[in-house]
């Protein structure tokens, strides 16, 4: 990523402590910025059709342009060799523009949803992993040059025993505190499972017109009530998951059928799937190398990301995925079946 000579240029380090740097990073998680990001995932997930985008995000290289004014106003463009798929978020909601399909979809922006391209930019990865990290979990790394800027290094070793992540390395811009590079490494692996970094970066607030979107003449436009399969399950599945699974507490955003448990680098999502959604995924799981067929679920670990699907052939089941150990996943599936509450017919 980037010419060798530029990467080899020595970076100016600072004697700031790990705890101070963590505070700086946490305090600048919504600092405005813009730039060009390259992300590289190595996780080949067993995904059925309705999860295809997630598989691409974590299993391939992604080029992004981002303009971030605030958490309420941003635009992330995924650059493709044959077009673009862009997300524009503003007061209207989140619009997805797809050049090749010539369409724009506006949706509300639910807290419960599948991962999307905007989650891959380094500051968002840092937000996910470091927002509630403790000073005792972090140590300093040498500074590095990222996007031609001095970036101070910080390593997070999550303390939770349920996590499957060994460490997360981030390098934050020495001037703005914005994270410019993030590297996630799973337990038992010396290789990065996921890397994301700016190749061009500016800490200046981008102009407001970058986060406005008008559907081009001739393009299809529609409003989507449902963003993705997680949002659909959350809105319509007639169940409520328990408040705690595998020792992890349900997050405040999980007030309906989908549960997001844990925090930071130790996090899992539990989605109730109907039979027609679960079965293709179950088939994919069976074909995935390294799959474990346990009585309560089929389970596979793809790097630090675990995926388990409860239930049996033809039936629906709980899909549980997250950065937790296999035992934690199985406990989570068991706890979900024991603790879920049926709330009537589909809403």
């Amino acid at each position: 990523m980037g010419p060798i000579a530029v990467r080899a240029w020595p970076a100016d380090d600072s004697d700031v402590s790990a705890a101070e740097l963590l505070t700086t990073v946490q305090g600048n998680l919504d600092h405005p910025y813009s730039g060009y990001v390259e992300a590289q995932g190595t996780l080949l997930l067993p995904v059925a059709d309705r999860f295809t985008d997630v598989g691409e995000l974590f299993g391939s290289s992604t080029r992004l342009r981002v303009w971030w004014r605030s958490a309420d106003e941003w635009r992330v463009d995924r650059l493709l060799a044959t077009g673009e798929t862009d997300l524009i978020h503003n007061a209207q909601g989140t619009t997805r523009w797809r050049y090749e399909q010539n369409d724009a979809d506006l949706s509300h922006d639910p807290d419960i949803r599948l991962p999307r391209t905007a989650d891959l930019v380094p500051p968002e990865v840092a937000d996910l992993m470091l927002s509630d990290a403790e000073p005792s979990e972090v140590s300093r790394l040498s500074a590095a040059r990222v996007a031609g800027r001095d970036a101070l290094g910080l390593r997070l070793r999550p303390g939770a025993r349920q996590t499957s992540i060994d460490h997360v390395d981030v390098w934050a811009d020495a001037d703005s505190g914005v994270v410019l590079r993030a590297v996630v490494v799973g337990k038992g692996s010396g290789k990065a499972a996921f890397t994301t970094e700016f190749a061009d970066f500016s800490p200046v607030t981008p102009p407001a017109e970058r986060t406005r979107f008008v559907t081009p003449p001739g393009a299809d436009f529609e409003f989507d009530d449902v963003l993705d399969i997680a949002d659909a399950a959350n809105q319509y599945a007639p169940v409520v998951p328990p408040d705690r699974v595998a020792g992890l507490v349900k997050g405040p955003a999980s007030d309906r059928a989908v549960g997001v448990y844990g925090s930071g680098a130790t996090r899992l999502i539990a989605i109730p799937l109907r039979g027609r959604e679960a079965e293709p995924l179950r088939e994919q799981l069976r074909l995935t190398p390294g799959v474990r067929e346990e009585p309560q679920a089929a389970l596979v670990m793809i790097g630090p990301l675990g995926v388990a699907l409860g239930g049996s052939g033809g039936d629906g089941g709980w899909l549980v995925a997250g950065t937790v150990t296999p035992d934690t996943l199985l406990r989570a599936v068991r706890d979900l079946y024991r603790g879920m509450v049926i709330v009537g017919d589909e809403r």
Binding site: G83, E84, P216, G218
Partner: protein, 272 residues
């Protein structure tokens, strides 16, 4: 100057030149006809850039045509044309007479290079004009009278034409890189086929390596790495990063291979 005039004369009077251009021009024309008849565009992410967009705006077809011919057809033609430049004269036994005339070796090399680039320019012009006419006639123009950028914003016709010329200039530069490699090989071997095949081997190897994650460390320096970066000119704002890198990379190939070709040709013992 005289050597250049002779080369350009030969280029435009050669039947091979026009047959080659016609064949290159034929492929995008066939694609346009098929699109117009079936109204079926490529699935997202599978076809050449802009090919899905031309179904609603035929004025974009010159760009789709560029994306169709640039990866394979055009570089093959350039490799054959430039590979033939010196080696062809040597094989026919005319190189010695050319140099006796007298024509300076540097002038001859420059004349050959300019002739190859004139061929590329001619080809791009024919492809672009044909594609525009075919695109507008068969696929129609946008109802809104404006062109949509890849990022979903609108471009005026003037902006669109300006960016299209930039894209054509970028393609021309990429082909100059190919021509430099072929011209160098043409000064090394006496067989035009050998020079053309050698150039194509370099391009195929480059294209193959670009698909390998293990070759990431060298990918930014491979000759075909930025060829299709011209699509970045149609994003909003223009994504200059790869266009600039592609320009610098091609300039590097031109300097290195033309320099090597020139040094080799200047010191070569021409006996045939």
């Amino acid at each position: 100057m005289r050597a250049l005039t002779v080369e350009l004369h030969q280029l435009v009077r050669s039947r091979r030149t026009w047959v080659t251009i016609l064949l290159i021009d034929l492929l995008p024309t066939i694609v346009a006809v098929l699109l117009a008849v079936t109204d079926i565009g490529p699935r997202p992410g599978t076809g050449p850039a802009f090919l899905s967009a031309v179904l609603t705006d035929g004025t974009l077809f010159p760009l789709a045509a560029l994306a169709i011919v640039l990866p394979l057809f055009l570089p093959i033609a350039v490799a054959v044309q430039a590979g033939d430049a010196i080696a062809g004269e040597a094989q026919q036994g005319t190189l010695r007479y050319l140099l006796v005339r007298p024509v300076g070796r540097t002038r001859l090399l420059v004349a050959k290079l300019v002739s190859v680039m004139a061929f590329v320019l001619l080809t791009l012009a024919v492809v672009a004009v044909t594609a525009y006419v075919v695109g507008v006639l068969l696929l129609g123009t946008s109802d809104a009278g404006q062109t949509t950028t890849v990022s979903g914003t609108s471009l005026t016709q003037g902006q669109m034409i300006g960016r299209t010329f930039l894209a054509l200039a970028f393609a021309l530069l990429c082909m100059l890189g190919v021509a430099s490699i072929a011209l160098f090989l043409s000064t090394v071997v006496d067989s035009p086929l050998g020079a053309a095949l050698g150039t194509m081997a370099v391009l195929v190897a480059s294209t193959l390596l670009l698909t390998l994650d293990a070759a990431d460390v060298v990918s930014d320096y491979l000759p075909t790495r930025y060829w299709l970066a011209f699509i970045d000119l149609f994003r909003d704002p223009i994504h200059w990063r790869d266009v600039i890198r592609g320009t610098l990379l091609q300039a590097g190939y031109v300097v290195v291979f033309l320099g090597a070709g020139w040094a080799n040709f200047m010191t070569r013992d021409v006996t045939q």
